[in-house]
């Protein structure tokens, strides 16, 4: 190992790193919100009795889950302008990531909805609950509890996947590290710093999600 580590070379670029973290978080949260809406429609479409609708949803999910994210992003950013749709890097990133995560979220939501058996609803009604109470306590609550861990994992995977949109020129965390590398030539230091940053972010979110799970699902069901 013949390399002088100089982390202080990164100090003048604190602003870039902070901007990168901000944009990464913004991209992740916005994409997750859109992907959940997309996912809900996909899940409902896939369970629909309309063969055309369920077939279209299944095609979408399989096409997205079996092609690389980078290719999907390049089609949105570099491909769509050929048919007159020009999106800036940030918008293209949000749309590309939402299309991608929407497919995964759709499958998670479908599994959650299907985990509730019709007999459970009947049991709820038999106990004298109203239709609203049955939906809230017997359908929605257990379904959300069942899919919560998978969605939390999907959120963390999305946060890591945002690094791919650096190739579109969107200035998120990885893009900033590559920029700093191109100015300081301290490759190891720049990438080590963001490795640690990604790790802190993901561990932070995992802890937050675990806390929310405990507060909402564990404590409440004990009470």
């Amino acid at each position: 190992m013949n390399y002088n580590f100089r982390f202080n070379a990164l100090a003048p670029y604190t602003g870039e790193i902070l901007r990168g973290i901000g944009l990464t978080l913004q991209l992740t949260c916005l994409t997750m919100a859109i992907a959940l809406v997309v996912g809900l429609f996909v899940a409902l479409a896939r369970m629909s009795d309309n063969r055309l609708l369920s077939g279209a949803a299944a095609t979408y999910v399989e096409a997205i889950r079996n092609t690389p994210l980078l290719v999907q992003l390049f089609i949105v950013f570099f491909g769509l302008p050929s048919i007159g749709i020009r999106l800036d890097a940030y918008t293209a990133a949000v749309i590309g990531l939402s299309i991608n995560v929407g497919a995964y979220a759709g499958e998670i939501l479908r599994a959650g909805i299907q985990s509730i058996r019709p007999s459970q609803v009947e049991a709820g009604r038999a106990l004298g609950m109203t239709a609203g109470q049955t939906f809230r306590s017997v359908v929605l609550f257990p379904a959300v509890k069942a899919i919560y861990p998978a969605l939390a994992s999907q959120f963390v995977l999305l946060l890591l996947a945002t690094s791919v949109v650096s190739s579109l020129g969107a200035g998120e965390l990885f893009h900033q590290a590559a920029f700093i590398d191109s100015r300081t030539y301290r490759s190891f230091e720049a990438y080590a710093l963001i490795t640690l940053t990604y790790l802190i972010l993901t561990l932070g979110f995992r802890a937050l999600f675990a806390l929310v799970y405990w507060l909402v699902f564990v404590r409440r069901s004990r009470a």
């Binding site: 190992m1 013949n2 570099f78 020009r86 800036d88 190739s167 191109s182 030539y185 490759s187």
Partner: protein
């Protein structure tokens, strides 16, 4: 098991701490003894380095690399690289020599060593006739695509601090951004712009303004004085016997102007 692992890790870290020093590059004798030289050439900067129809690397820099390996009498191990990673490849000892249409700057010379120039180009900003600008300070709302970390990126950042500069991973992606209309202007070398126009009918890459006459230098790792001296000698002799000018005519279409030694 865990105890062993932590012992190994701390031993590795300790070894790193003790031997950390200037990078020990392979100097001339080591390269000759090894019988091979590792040279990096551009993958995406025609006519300096790109892939032909058979996916084989071709270009001025590729010819240079072949000539140098032949003159050294060793085998050539060619590696295709991009503008953004050519210095990291040297700094992390993945290559001995980089021949990648690279300009010299004092900042880069802190990390790597430069030989005398072997070719020349001008870097500038290019775009369609409809955009009427003639200098960096006239850029207002236009987006400029550029390959990250290249000479043109460094110059543009300095000359047009308020412009919207979109930095891409390499020259090919920056060119794709311009051709797909994601950027209105492209910062690149005059020779590259000309080549892009020939290959993409419809792409309008007229010179808007030139930022710098920029000779191309070969880069090597620091700490290889003998290799540096040998390369300078090789370039000097190739300039005198017309080899360099012939290469320039073959790939760029112009004779090589007289270039001062470094």
């Amino acid at each position: 098991m865990l105890k062993h692992l932590s012992r190994i890790v701390s031993a590795v870290l300790l070894a790193g701490a003790v031997t950390a020093g200037p990078a020990l590059a392979a100097d001339l004798q080591e390269i000759i003894a090894a019988g091979k030289v590792r040279i990096g050439v551009p993958v995406d900067v025609a006519p300096f380095g790109s892939n032909d129809a058979n996916n084989q690397p071709v270009g001025l820099d590729v010819d240079m690399a072949n000539n140098i390996a032949k003159a050294l009498g060793v085998e050539l191990e060619l590696q295709q690289i991009t503008g953004a990673n050519r210095i990291p490849y040297l700094a992390t000892d993945k290559l001995d020599i980089v021949i990648a249409a690279m300009g010299a700057t004092p900042e880069r010379a802190l990390q790597i060593a430069f030989t005398s120039p072997y070719a020349a180009l001008s870097v500038g900003v290019f775009g369609p006739d409809s955009i009427a600008i003639t200098s960096a300070d006239q850029i207002t709302s236009e987006t400029i695509a550029v390959a990250r970390g290249t000479t043109q990126d460094l110059l543009l950042t300095e000359l047009a601090p308020n412009a919207t500069i979109q930095r891409y991973d390499d020259d090919a992606t920056a060119a794709a951004a311009f051709i797909s209309g994601q950027a209105q202007l492209l910062a690149t070398a005059d020779i590259v712009a000309k080549d892009l126009m020939e290959k993409n009918p419809g792409a309008e890459l007229k010179p808007k303004f030139l930022m710098q006459f920029s000779p191309c230098y070969i880069g090597i790792q620091q700490g290889s004085p003998e290799l540096l001296r040998w390369l300078d000698t090789y370039i000097h002799v190739s300039q005198l016997d017309g080899t360099l000018s012939a290469l320039s005519e073959k790939w760029i279409g112009t004779k090589l102007p007289t270039l001062p030694a470094i």
